[in-house]
Symmetry: C2
Subunit: 172 residues, 2 copies
DNA sequence: CTTGATAATCAGAAAATCTAATTACATAAT
DNA sequence: ATTATGTAATTAGATTTTCTGATTATCAAG
């Protein structure tokens, strides 16, 4: 009785659709494990992700991307600094701000954790011939486009938008 | 100076790798917008996701997948019930448990928000010919495999594993 | 039918975030 | 130059969320 879909029709999804979903779930699982290993809560971990991506940010910038108040962001930065994950340095031109940067060893640890997977995927895609690579890129692009238009639609209140029509290239 | 990668070499990623990353980020953006629209915190939203996927769960099962204590899970359920997102019904065979089920309108709202995107992706992949579909599935499978082995590696302490070697099918 | 485990909840403490006020600095307009 | 206004970060105290430990009800094994 665990998953008998009583009411909703199961709806046969394409394996690729299922795999995309699986990737999203696996990403969350990975994040959870890394968070636990680094002893960081969700917010602090997200902050580290942004800091590593951007190399350095002011508390204000961090607050924006984390959707936190300035006050909460101060405490995030305090916690991360106390644990040695980041350093505060004075902003070169604006003395009201700080520049927050991830510590050397945090960056290295993250690299060591994620690089194998990233390289794995990168190597995999490069192992296809050019045409197949183009197919993969085309598909992924359309996923990004669909998600992007969903985001746009959701941002402007709940007004559903008709799905895109795709030209069908199947050989009969 | 925002992204001059001072120190780390930029490392040229395949467009497909970049797109995969983009998809993961977009997923979080979408979740955030939906959460805000439904006025749910991260945890309560995650609970709804699991409940919709499984159709119904006991508080104990919910606690496991949310990585929460039983006590915290009780409050999650209380909040969701108070807002009308779920209902508690007695467990058919074990009178200690409840069965938590998402409300009709919660399921419908989620469907309306996500279905267009899901169908979009599904239609897109079906628009390729069989061989190209196989390429896409093969690639996605390898992404899942890479992430899965990363998860496995991370779960057993920080012991890095050498990346997979892929057979190269490029035409010279 | 008693004993030991399990499911959910309650009570109070701890952690994380919020609102509002404060301090220091920057920028624009006299 | 001086003042006025706005912005960046922090602090203080309240609120929300989660945790630990104890409690109640039920199940399952002997």
């Amino acid at each position: 009785m665990q998953n008998s879909h009583g009411g909703r029709p199961p709806m046969q999804m394409h394996p690729a659709s299922v795999l995309v979903r699986q990737i999203l779930v696996l990403n969350e699982v990975m994040e959870f494990i890394m968070r636990r290993e680094m002893d960081l809560n969700e917010t602090d971990f997200q902050a580290m992700q942004h800091l590593m991506k951007q190399r350095s940010m002011s508390p204000g910038e961090l607050a924006k991307v984390l959707h936190l108040t300035a006050a909460a962001t101060t405490t995030v930065i305090d916690r991360l600094a106390r644990k040695g994950h980041i350093t505060r340095t004075p902003h070169p031109t604006d003395r009201r701000r700080w520049l927050i940067s991830p510590s050397e060893q945090s960056v290295r640890a993250a690299m060591e954790n994620l690089m194998p997977m990233i390289l794995d995927v990168d190597n995999k895609v490069r192992s296809y011939n050019d045409r197949d690579q183009a197919v993969i890129v085309d598909f992924l692009n359309s996923v990004v486009a669909s998600m992007g238009s969903r985001v746009a639609a959701l941002e402007n209140g709940p007004a559903p938008i008709p799905p895109t029509v795709h030209t069908d290239s199947r050989k009969v």
